[in-house]
Symmetry: C2
């Protein structure tokens, strides 16, 4: 099949899966969990081949570890499918109901978006997570996984497809593509695909954003900040600045730049340096920072850099205003935190910092769909249209207006024969 034919099949499935019942979706997911459980051998043997190839191709041990599946990981994958069954159906919610006039009622009802393209680089379990979230939200999906996991992705895809297509409504609704050339073609199908979700490196996301007219949901960078105010509890600030950088440095919600009010720099910087030194964090500071602790010189390019590593830039600021200005200028609008005991200042920071998540007296690392209690997370959006921050099932929905009458025509309202009541019901 060509990519066009695959997209056509998926597209044709959208009206049916948009209105399928919660029970049918959950049954399909039960069959998925069961089919994965019954075919562990096939999954493991396909994965073994991928791993063998990856070793031949000299992939790094980290990448190989990400690729590798075992029975414990398959347990987790199946648990993941079951947790999606447990999530509330995001489709069919009445978001608004208005009586426009007697026997003329308007409903705003949540619906699936339609046909979604997901391009992911990471572990094969991502395929299962993404696909099950699309099934639960009534969306059709075209999937493209990392080439190093090709065999694993193919068997996981086929097991899911076989399981859901036992119910004819799902036929064609999930599609797998495998080549970069297909991705290139997919990105051109802006009249068929409603949304592209890239999950992977900043380079992948940027490439996609630059090469499609389809709306893209995701983030290319995570340049997060912690600002230590002059009214901060400095012990708390040390814990938060340490956790935000060191709890897991390679992820998008880790801090890249620490901002410190000049009045507490002399006291705070030596305190935090002790902690960072334990973890061999490389520190790059401005002139004032260098006057207090030993560190490398930081330049403008450091404020613009996502290290994704145990490197941190530190800048002193003269005021809360300067901190907000720095963040709004250099932040990737992902997650930024203030540490202060002054509520008024905190509220100003939370309101004026233009980021998807803003934190007061806690670590930037909390910015995550699971920690936020959103259930499974599809990704984090730094865009300001549709969804922002950690995106769960709700981010895969939009709404439609349904107007139900008994013969009303606009002419009667234009002529003044009838009048709108506009009574809010929900």
């Amino acid at each position: 099949m060509t990519i066009k034919e695959q997209v056509k099949l998926a597209s044709e499935a959208t009206p049916g899966i948009a209105s399928v019942s919660t029970e049918a979706k959950n049954s399909a997911l039960e069959r998925v969990a069961h089919n994965l459980d019954e075919n562990r051998d096939k999954i493991l043997s396909a994965n073994e081949k991928d791993v063998k190839e990856a070793k031949k191709a000299n992939l790094t041990p980290v990448l190989i570890k990400r690729l590798e599946l075992d029975n414990k990981k398959i347990d987790e994958i199946i648990e993941g499918v079951k947790s999606v069954i447990g999530l509330e159906d995001p489709v069919g919610k009445v978001l608004l109901a208005t009586e426009l006039d007697e026997s003329l009622t308007l409903y705003k009802v949540s619906t699936p978006i339609g046909l979604i393209g997901v391009i992911f680089e990471s572990r094969p379990e991502a395929l299962v997570q993404i696909t099950t979230l699309c099934i639960k939200s009534g969306n059709a999906v075209v999937l493209k996984g990392g080439s190093e996991a090709k065999g694993s992705n193919r068997i996981l895809f086929n097991l899911i497809k076989d399981a859901i297509e036992q119910d004819a409504v799902f036929i064609g609704s999930i599609q797998l593509i495998e080549t970069r050339e297909d991705v290139r073609k997919l990105l051109k199908l802006d009249s068929d695909i409603d949304l592209i979700i890239p999950r992977g490196s900043g380079a992948l996301v940027k490439y996609i954003q630059q090469n499609t007219k389809i709306p893209v949901m995701g983030h290319s960078e995570g340049i997060c900040h912690v600002y230590v105010d002059e009214e901060a509890n400095l012990d708390m600030a040390v814990d938060i600045a340490f956790d935000s950088k060191c709890q897991y440095a390679a992820v998008c919600n880790a801090m890249e730049t620490l901002l410190v009010h000049r009045d507490v720099a002399n006291k705070f910087l030596p305190m935090i340096k002790v902690r960072y030194d334990e973890q061999n964090v490389e520190l790059r500071g401005d002139e004032r920072v260098k006057g207090v602790i030993g560190c490398i010189n930081a330049s403008k390019s450091d404020w613009e850099c996502e290290y994704n590593d145990l490197i941190l830039s530190i800048r002193t600021v003269d005021s809360l205003t300067d901190a907000i200005d720095h963040i709004n200028r250099y932040s990737s609008h992902h997650t930024d935190a203030i540490v202060t005991s002054n509520e008024k200042k905190a509220q100003r920071f939370l309101n004026e910092v233009d980021s998807s998540s803003v934190m007061w007296n806690c670590s930037t690392r909390f910015s995550d769909g699971y920690r936020y209690g959103l259930g499974s997370e599809l990704g984090i959006s730094t865009g300001k249209i549709h969804s922002r921050g950690p995106v769960g099932l709700e981010g895969l929905t939009i709404y439609k207006y349904k107007l139900i009458g008994d013969g009303q025509i606009v002419g009667d309202y234009a002529n003044g024969i009838k009048k709108f009541t506009h009574r809010q019901l929900v």
Copy 2:
């Protein structure tokens, strides 16, 4: 000032206006209403010059009428401003509140989108409507109006600007650009502008969609359908089919194609033809339609055409499924209606037709922000991301997550020292 400098000024105003109080926004709007009222002479004299120029340039009487302002229209403009004061503030609403753990609370709060570009072709009053909606929703805006209304737009803009900038927080937040060259430059500023809203012809909207990486909200076409089911009350169907086409043919929510179930074609078509003949509607039908009533031959290009005029294509279908298929294939996903007395069929139509508004037993012409009770309408979106259908104030907002703690770090949760409670508060 260059367009880049204008955009920079507007952008710098965004953090301040994002967190300004409802009272300050309403006061600014009160000053706008007052300033317009006090300067009617200036508005009318600038408008007179525009009209004189337009007549010299041989614009059509319809366009000149759209351009022309008088004291009654200014009354309406001022009433419009006052009605926006009366609308609920869409910013700062708590959409979700979750206790993640003791003293660690997550709030999802509605915020302005940021900086919006609005390009409109129509009447000068559009400038006032758009600007006041942006002020109320805390967004900065760059405006570009039609060149034929240049003088009127400039005076209206300056009166609004002077009125709002008496409160320093609004300084720079609204900007006017006047040339096509500036629009071209604006469309390139995708890292500064968060959303473009084009209001005007399909050609304008398509040009913008094709020439920017900024998200675009709007619609380029309105190809709307009415489907008369074999179980329709045919008198009702006649009224709805007539109103949907003839109540105002030149607008996006008017019907362009009438679908009729074959079993009622013989009875229904002569009934509706009498009504259409009164209004000299040109009818184009398929072979079966031509077998029943006199009309021109319809071809595939008719199913794809937005006439915006007293022309209608008519097609017979064999089933509800055929009707849904036709609509999902040819509709512009704007507004489509079914007339039937069978609830099950109606629900299937409402669920499976993939359009922003779907109607049962009422006219497509109801699809409109005012009629839906949304207050002022910015436009109608046929996109499936962010906003769909008639877009009011809420469509100019997004949200951010605010997390408030007292020193919590992720390490404690990763190590199992602490556990999330995820208790829903709102």
